[in-house]
Amino acid sequence: MSRTPLDTVEHAAATPDVELPWAELGLKKDEYERVVEILGRRPTGAELAMYSVMWSEHCSYKSSKVHLRQFGEKAPQSDALLVGIGENAGVVDVGQGYAVTFKVESHNHPSYVEPYQGAATGVGGIVRDIIAMGARPVAVVDPLRFGAADHPDTKRVLPGVVAGIGGYGNCLGLPNIGGEVVFDACYQGNPLVNAGAIGVMRHEDIHLAKASGPGNKVILYGARTGGDGIGGASILASETFDDAKPSKRPAVQVGDPFQEKLLIECTLEAFAEKLVVGIQDLGAAGLSCATSELASNGSGGMRVTLDDVPLRDSTLSPEEILMSESQERMCAVVEPEKVDRFLEICDKWDVIATVIGEVTDGDRLEIYWHGGKIVDVDPRTVAHEGPVYERPYARPSWQDALQADDANKLARPATSEELKDQVLKLVASPNQASKSWITSQYDHFVQGNTVLAQPEDSGMIRIDEASGLGVAIATDGNGRYAKLDPYAGAQLALSEAYRNVATTGAKPLAVSDCLNFGSPEDPAVMWQFAEAIRGLADACQQLGTPVTGGNVSLYNQTGEAAIHPTPVVAVLGVIDDVARRTPVAFQEEGQLLYLLGDTREEFGGSAWSQVVHDHLGGLPPKVDLERERLLAEILISASRDGMIDSAHDLSDGGLIQAVVESALLGGLGARLIVPDGLDAFTFLLSESAGRAVVAVPRSEELRFNDMCGARGLPVTRIGVVDGDVVEVQGEFTLTLAELREAHEGTIPAILA
């Protein structure tokens, strides 16, 4: 077997005319020319591998960057923000010396190709982001979107995704406390598998991804590097070197949660002994990303000997090693005198750890292979100075027609009997039905700090056993609303997550987002994207909740058909004492039900319009951020002062959906009275934002009403917790048994 000479920096300089497969690696011609210009010569194969993967849409945010800047520019003044956008995950001060880090990411495309591993490694990746900040992961959440519930392919994708999330997360010992499951035909070929995680640390334990201190050692630890997740690099490898080796490698990575669990424990032990100067996880773009980011965020340069990387497959080329996305790997920067202790801890946990390089006092990232220098770059040009595109965007031609197709004009139920049938159909529809078939495959209890988990409005975790300090998280996003109006849709996603956190009694502090859209090369999609970001940034500014980080997933489209624009927003909140939390379930018969907020005729994008008319048109509910803030303040005060025993936010499906859920969870019914000025249909099914239903003990009625009155929040008494039926006076009665059968039977019937 003959090998072409090693493509070193020297060799590249001497052979300027060698053609490299930059197009196959996804680079555009002008991007390749820019690389040549930066280097002053053609790149080596290894350099090309690094630039191509780091300048990809996924790693460089080249289409989204110009819009994402608004999150920084419009960031509200917040004392809570300790680490903002740009690090592995944002960090928020939650008081008592604790800091919380959280983030949501997408693993959409891999999860369609290989549902189990795609979803599993999505959990793995987000958890490593959390560890890399210095925190112990304490919970995960999973916002999911699938195609139509009854489509045959959904039966392939969903069970695999759910088993993958469970299989990985359960094995890590992380309680899964929230998220959503939404079905819509627009996600048929592009399911959205977003994964969020929360971690907790003390303020002084925050770690950052930077390599500083010349002479400090770079240690790669965790799994061996294999050929998984390489994608384009194989092309390069097969063209540059001999072709007698396996060429087709899986593009989706394979996860080993056991290895990740060991990685968590050994990393936390190293943190506890203050052995780590800088740290970065290996996710997308693997070592290319970790080395270039660590080096460019630090003060000096970095020298790496690639021969020292432990391999799973000894035939891997240096380009493949640099691009491999093998899971469960981390990279730490450690002072020389602490290296032995670091390696000892890794050995205790049976984790392979290898010194692969060191921080230098230069400003170059140099990588060696078989004694030759194959990479010599300014790491900033790889990690931070990729191309930036001002992609054209334009309001779609069909937007006006869509908004003119008013859902408020759809045929409404003519009789009480029809209203009852539609309510029953609604609560049994896949989007409104109980998701316990799915969530029961996730461990909610591990770590022994779970205060609330799905189907509660937000997940809640105790972080201090003595004081009861806790954090809450909710994720929301309604693609139907965003399709009708992406600006408002993004604001409604934030409003709902914000409201959900407050409904459980926690104070909303900060935001992470996962922005799922179609192709940025389509001006209509780009407009949706730009509008959604503008909406979200404006709303975050007004509500005082900064965006701390997040993720963009583009190209979620099959052919010409893009998914609904789907900004998923996660809101993190804090609660001083988890004992004051407010659950969704009705607690006691005789308690009074109050509706907080205003109900208007708002059916655009509603669950009712989808379930009953298979319709999407008109305008989404009106956004009123000041109302959301007031409502949140009332809910938090009422929870703290013991004025309410249960609460549920009103969103898709409207009031009746919320009441049915509270009733079924509590095993107690409700008698409702249609308030003056509203018709039963609007009262039960409108999706006006800024609303919640609360159950107030009779002893607190006066105090609660006084508080709402004094603060100017509209409050309407709508009934009482009672019996084993949900009765709407003068309209219909449904027994809890028939509601339960409808609500809980749907998903198992489709998927089991």
């Binding site: 088993a163 469970g166 299989g167 359960n170 094995c171 890590l172 010992g173 080993d256 949660p257 056991f258 290895q259 669990k261 060991l262 946990w349 049976d350 969530t439 029961s440 495959q441 996730y442 461990d443 909610h444 209890f445 591990v446 770590q447 022994g448 700090n449 779970t450 205060v451 105790r462 056993e465 988890v578 004992a579 939390r581 089991a752």
Partner: protein
């Protein structure tokens, strides 16, 4: 004087810190034990907690059973030291032949996490004296491989000797034979069960019940009286 109760951490153990908390809440002293260490640090009893020891890629508990710490635990359990195996711990105890039978994958092939109703069938073991025989309790269940199986003779023997310690009520979550959720050895010092009492020791947290706490007060009572 209080009792020292060891909690073993294997690589992949998940509920070790939760179990230590439960022991502390019951008033005993939790002692961390390490899988590579044969020394049990003079503990009076041991809990093998839940998780996926060594990844459980072969068969749940199959590797953990051969770990250094288990050598000592097997030896001492045979001479009367109380041992409780929860979930993965129960699987390890059957693999170690301290308890009869074994665990297969759940009959529905999914991981299942739920609030599970049980009946305490034997309130005379070292870990159940604070319950009443026949008492119904609710504690969380969460597992992938929880289907208890044994041959008919073994099952008949367990029943006849009162060694079925816990039975699933209302709903059998995994297809366990005769609804068996947990069993004890003949002497009553070794008990294993699939559900997780350590997750039901504080109001507000988890299911909001404390039905699991008597496991830990039982052993404390037993040890301190001795």
């Amino acid at each position: 004087m209080t009792a020292r109760i060891g909690v073993v951490t294997f690589p992949g153990s998940l509920d070790d810190r939760d179990t230590q908390r439960a022991i502390r809440l019951a008033g005993a002293e939790p002692v961390a034990l390490w899988h590579k260490d044969k020394d049990l640090k003079q503990v009076d009893a041991v809990v093998l907690c839940g998780g996926f020891s060594y990844g459980d890629y072969l068969r749940a508990g199959a590797i953990a059973r051969f770990s250094p710490v288990m050598e000592t635990i097997i030896e001492q359990a045979k001479s009367g030291m109380p041992v409780l195996g929860i979930c993965n711990g129960f699987q390890i105890l059957t693999e170690a032949h301290l308890l009869p039978g074994g665990m297969l994958g759940n009959d529905h092939l999914h991981f299942i996490c739920r609030d599970q109703k049980l009946r305490v069938e034997n309130a005379n073991t070292a870990w159940t004296v604070d319950y009443d025989a026949g008492q119904e309790i609710n504690i969380p269940l969460k597992n992938m491989d929880g289907r208890y199986v044994a041959d008919e003779r073994t099952l008949d023997m367990l029943e006849a000797e009162g060694r079925v310690a816990f039975r699933y009520l209302d709903f059998n979550p995994n297809g366990s034979l005769r609804d068996i959720a947990g069993i004890t050895n003949e002497a009553g010092n070794v008990v294993g069960l699939m559900p997780h009492p350590e997750h039901a020791v504080e109001p507000l947290i988890g299911t909001g019940r404390t039905d699991g706490l008597p496991f830990f007060t039982s052993i404390l009572k037993k040890l301190v009286n001795v």
